[in-house]
């Protein structure tokens, strides 16, 4: 399926079935291919259940990493996507280098209310190549997705969200979003969507072939006044990492304006060890040559 307009980040990623350049072919020959493509997630009888399980997990990991990256790059809080289903894919594992995964998956809108409704036809499709480097964060992602929402509609919704954010009274007295019973007040949805967008950057950076992150809760928000009409806010999220079951608090600072690239800085707390080590993570959507202005 051809996308109408291939979005960034990198050139060369086409629809499913890329033609690698010569050096890439050599690289591919060096990597150990893992048994064949996996079908969709419902039961399959062929092959050994264990291999299929491992394959499926890797494809899922890659799809999630690709989606986090896609959401971040799209920079649109009203066009966020979540994984619907992994459709097909293939993983190559090199014990020394890491893991290369080609994956095709379907997505749906991250609209929490419509999640319970089936078959609205709002399924997008993405294909991605993801490179997980052993023990290193920031998987390399090449992802292409079909358009889910009409561009003009997306711009309108982004601008509406922007207006809602600008109208919020500061200091915001936010306790938790969602509250402990999973409820999000409709007036607070813009904050949540924007927080999810910023968190996508963090989650993309932190995803490896083993670790997988989810946004569990937003626990504090502070919005700053700006001279240039951008949305500028600090917030704390609790991320849930599935394989270790850890809850990771991250402070995130985000600067956004509809249609402009997202700027994110963050600091996540390290797991408490008996010696109480801590680390600092910083990342920015801005290319290295640009100076950050916060």
């Amino acid at each position: 399926m051809q996308p109408r307009r291939p979005p960034p980040p990198a050139p060369g990623s086409g629809p499913w079935g890329p033609r690698p350049a010569a050096p890439l072919i050599a690289l591919l020959l060096l990597l150990v291919p893992v048994v064949a493509a996996a079908e969709s997630e419902s039961a399959e009888d062929r092959g050994q259940p264990q291999d299929a399980g491992l394959q499926r997990r890797l494809l899922q990991q890659a799809a999630r990493a690709a989606l986090h990256f896609f959401n971040f790059r799209a920079g649109s809080p009203s066009a966020l996507r979540v994984l619907a289903q992994v459709q097909k894919g293939r993983a190559w594992i090199n014990p020394k280098e890491g893991c290369k995964v080609d994956v095709v998956f379907s997505t749906e809108r991250y609209n929490l209310e419509s999640l319970l409704q089936e078959g609205e036809g709002h399924l997008g499709k993405c294909s991605a190549r993801v490179l997980f480097k052993n023990q290193k964060p920031r998987p390399a992602v090449n992802v292409t997705c079909t358009r889910l929402i009409e561009k003009k509609k997306r711009q309108q919704e982004d601008y509406l969200l922007y207006k809602q954010m600008k109208q919020l009274k500061n200091p915001l007295e936010i306790v938790s979003i969602p509250d402990n019973h999973g409820h999000i007040d409709p007036s607070l949805r813009p904050i949540w969507d924007l927080a999810f967008l910023g968190s996508s950057y963090v989650m993309w950076e932190m995803t490896t072939q083993f670790s997988r992150y989810y946004l569990a809760q937003l626990t504090s928000v502070r919005q700053w006044k700006t001279n240039d009409d951008t949305i500028d806010f600090d917030y704390t999220v609790l991320l849930h990492e599935l394989s270790t079951q850890e809850i990771i608090p991250c402070r995130i600072h985000l600067v956004w304006y509809p249609g402009k690239p997202l700027k994110v800085k963050y600091h996540c707390q390290e797991l408490q060890t008996p010696e109480e080590a801590s680390g600092t993570e910083e990342g920015s959507a801005v290319a290295p040559t640009e100076l950050s202005n916060f």
Binding site: N180, H181, Q217, H240, L242, P274
Partner: protein, 391 residues
């Protein structure tokens, strides 16, 4: 610790009363801080007589402090607030420990023909651990075990367990499959497997997972109750760091919450199936978690899981994946279902309920009943298979 501001512009306490107020402030009990970032505090105030009590009521109109009543008074007020029957209990809301235990008492009373409650032990902080028994009589019928809430933040599991308990008594005599099951077998449900952790998720930290045990040598609290079982204890997928969410504890069954179950099931000696319910991820799994080695009846469990997941899907279209724990979710050692299987319980399953990460642990209450309805069909499938494949 916050003091209580006195006076104000409204007709307030008299000078004598004001003194009482001051004395009060100095007799404030320990303030409990909420684990969020807004600086809210909950203060516990002890009132010794009616006069102090009325002073407190005056204070109640002052914001933002919230004042709790004296424990005796509180108990009385509570008994008025708590429901006297299960008919007014909302199955589509989340409840706290007290409300659940109160529901259990009412439930047992209303269905005493087939339901009883058993006190199987106490938690680390000395809370009662209760199990519901569903039985149509006989002595030591082959039995099915279901536990929910072993990880306290997984609120959908307790809610599903409660709904399921009610469903069992409602369907008995109407659903032929369930009726057959109950005629031949007993069902045991432990709703709040980790009561200390659960209380903590209500009072301080919604995302607490472990129990609340403390031991010398570390300031970190709690053991992951689903890593504390005697099966591959301490292996991969569990952690020896007490600060970790998957800390396995100092030795197998070191935790009273786990020991209570082990002792109960072992003493009973006739359990044929065990179902341990968690959230989230939408998965139905069987052993092993501790390694990739398949169990001897892997094919049978695979097919049973497949059927159960299909039955679940047919209710609301919710998609689950299934397989062994190690291949479907991750490698985890010292887990409940591995222990159950190694103890001879052939049908040992672990559920991960809704959702797949949108809300995660904070699943909206509106999803409780749909989740419980679909999960029930899967549980029923497993129980039916257990009945028709006696061993």
């Amino acid at each position: 610790m916050q003091g209580i501001p006195g006076g104000g512009t409204r007709p307030g306490p008299s000078p004598v009363d004001r003194q009482m107020l001051l004395i009060f402030s100095f007799t404030l009990a320990v303030a409990l801080g909420q684990m969020n970032f807004t600086g809210d505090q909950v203060l516990r105030v002890l009132a010794r007589d009616e006069k102090q009590l009325s002073l407190l009521r005056d204070l109640e109109v002052l914001k933002p402090q919230k004042v709790l009543l004296d424990e005796e008074r509180e108990a009385m007020a509570k008994s008025r607030r708590l429901e006297r029957s299960t008919s007014s209990f909302s199955y589509s809301a989340y409840h706290n420990l007290e409300e659940i235990y109160s529901w259990i008492d009412n439930f047992v009373m209303e269905h005493s023909d087939i339901v009883s409650k058993i006190h199987i032990g106490n938690s680390f902080e000395n809370r009662t651990i209760l199990v519901l028994k569903f039985s149509t009589g006989g002595s030591r019928h082959p039995a099915i075990w279901i536990d929910t809430g072993i990880h306290s933040r997984e609120w959908i599991t307790h809610a599903t367990g409660i709904w399921t308990a009610n469903q069992i008594v409602s369907d008995y005599g109407k659903d032929p499959i369930l009726t057959d099951i109950l005629k031949a077998m007993d069902i045991f449900i432990e709703l709040v497997t980790n009561p200390d952790g659960f209380a903590f998720t209500h009072s301080m930290n919604r995302l607490w997972r472990k129990n609340k045990s403390i031991r010398p040598g570390t300031f970190c609290i709690g053991v992951d109750l689903n890593r504390n079982w005697k099966s591959g204890f301490g292996g991969n997928g569990s952690n020896s760091n007490p600060c970790s969410e998957t800390y396995h504890g100092p030795f197998p069954q070191s935790e009273p919450e786990v020991a209570a179950i082990v002792n109960f099931i072992t003493a009973h000696g006739n359990f044929k199936a065990l179902i341990s319910i968690h959230s989230y991820s939408q998965m139905l799994m069987y052993p092993y978690g501790r390694s990739l080695e398949p169990v001897s009846n892997q094919r049978e469990l695979y097919n049973l899981a497949k059927d159960a997941v299909k039955a679940l899907y047919e209710v609301h279209g919710t998609e689950y994946i299934f397989g062994s724990i190690s291949t479907t979710l991750y490698v985890a050692s010292g887990i409940t279902v591995d222990w159950a299987y190694d103890s001879g319980i052939k049908y040992a399953f672990s559920f991960e309920l809704r959702d797949t990460g949108h809300y995660g642990f904070l699943l909206p209450a509106t999803q409780i009943i749909p989740t419980a309805q679909e999960t029930w069909m899967a549980i029923r499938t497993i129980m039916e298979h257990t009945l028709t494949h006696a061993y």
